[in-house]
């Protein structure tokens, strides 16, 4: 892989994104805010404090995690799939000095860039409402990049194996939604049977939520395990996503 060539792919996506950001930014931004308002304020009125904080403040760090997660997954499922098939962008790019490994790296980097970007938007938004207690929140930026890479890699694997664009429904319904609901964003997992926590431990969102909560509240929860988990997952998934996508694109 040649990082300069991967950057050219990233740059192409960035150029296109600057043309479209008005529509996509609103869509990506509105959804997490809706969750915050509906659950935090609406449901929150009936929920007692969790771990000593009001409900809206409890879920806010998790919304950073989920917003950044969905940014990378939408990009590297629907976005990548459309470029690979309908728009034939991959064909255009691969006819230039860019090779498939550069292309995959560029796609993944772009997915994680969007992850960081949409995470930061939520951080800024919740800071306005004084829901950020610690300057440690700044450490989230590199963390969001690593987790963004993981979500991009998982999505890329999915993109490489789906028979058609409709099949992403399975990915979202059977994998993304359960992960979103059972990763400690909306309630502590210890209230559920232990098996749920055990399963959650094997999902990236659970660890990202832990880190987000620790950095936003500034409470010194032990998050080293979570960081190591994310680093390991990002490293392990990278070659898998590359091999599978290569198999799909290079006939």
């Amino acid at each position: 892989m040649n990082i300069k060539r991967a950057f050219r792919v990233w740059q192409r996506h960035f150029t296109v994104y600057t043309k479209l950001y008005r529509t996509s930014i609103v869509l990506n931004f509105v959804e997490p805010v809706l969750y915050l308002v509906a659950f935090g304020i609406g449901l929150g009125a009936f929920v007692k404090d969790i771990e000593g904080v009001p409900y809206i403040k409890y879920i806010a760090p998790g919304i950073i995690a989920s917003s950044s997660m969905f940014a990378a997954t939408y990009e590297c499922t629907y976005g990548t799939y459309v470029r690979m098939t309908f728009q034939k962008t991959f064909d255009a790019i691969l006819a230039t000095p860019i090779n498939i490994e550069d292309l995959v790296a560029g796609e993944l980097l772009w997915g994680s860039t969007k992850s960081v970007f949409y995470g930061i938007i939520i951080i800024v938004a919740i800071s306005f409402f004084k829901m950020v207690d610690s300057m440690y929140v700044i450490f989230l930026i590199p963390v969001l990049f690593i987790s963004g890479l993981i979500f991009a890699e998982i999505s890329m694997i999915c993109t490489a194996i789906v028979p058609g664009i409709d099949s992403f429904n399975y990915f979202y319904t059977l994998f993304m939604t359960p992960m979103f609901l059972f990763s400690g964003i909306f309630f502590p997992l210890k209230t559920l049977p232990p098996i749920i926590s055990k399963i959650a431990f094997w999902t990236p969102l659970y660890h990202l939520t832990n880190i987000c909560r620790a950095c936003v509240t500034g409470k010194s929860n032990v998050i080293i395990v979570d960081i190591l988990w994310l680093l390991a997952a990002a490293t392990i998934l990278a070659p898998i996503s590359y091999v599978l996508l290569k198999k799909r694109v290079i006939k």
Partner: protein, 252 residues
Amino acid sequence: MVIIKARKLTKYFGQICAVDNVDFDIEKGVCFGFLGPNGAGKTTIMRMFYCIVAPTAGHIEIMGMDIKRHASKIKSKIGVMPQDNNLDLELSAFKNLIVYGRYFEIPYKISKRLAYDLLDYVGLTEKAHENIRNLSGGMQRALLLARAIINSPEILILDEPTTGLDPHSRHNVWHKLKDLKEKDTTLILTTHYMEEAEKLCDKVAIMDRGKIIIIDTPKHLMETYGGNLEDVYLKLTGKKLKGEENNNNNEY
């Protein structure tokens, strides 16, 4: 000088044999045409040149380099005008060229000038900053051609460059291709238009079901077998060359 050399080139897609043990040499500076109906294996060979399709067996050398080992370097010296429109639909004609120039590491200052020159060359100056969705089919093909030569390629690969174009746009493309050939660019094209092959090609490879049946100059083929290239094809394969006209842009 031989610029592309293929030996025992074979490609299977699952059980289907798309290219069946073919050999050919392409000389520098010529216009070489692959003729045959849809499904003859033309596009598969083209796509092997720029490494999107990997040969099942055999090998290709381009400019003396093995495509498996020097893909990026080879691709920096070739231009590709694909069969399907794969422009960046969200961007203007100008931006399409700039983005493409970046893949070849052309600095912005140079690619900006190049982009305007190329748009002028293909007659799209007035459309430079227009969204390409507003461009006609012929204009989009012209832009694809401009994009394919932004790196001043030594070899230009044209996969059915004029399919789906009206006669006027088709003549425009032919005119540009002749011009490029005069500048010593090697042209490799696939087509199922006889007139196109007769007008442009110095040499043609006649293909049927993955095999190359004969490689010769159109003139010599017509003298030997009589009639035009269409008749030659019919005599050699027992089939009509021009299959069903298909519009590849509607594949999805």
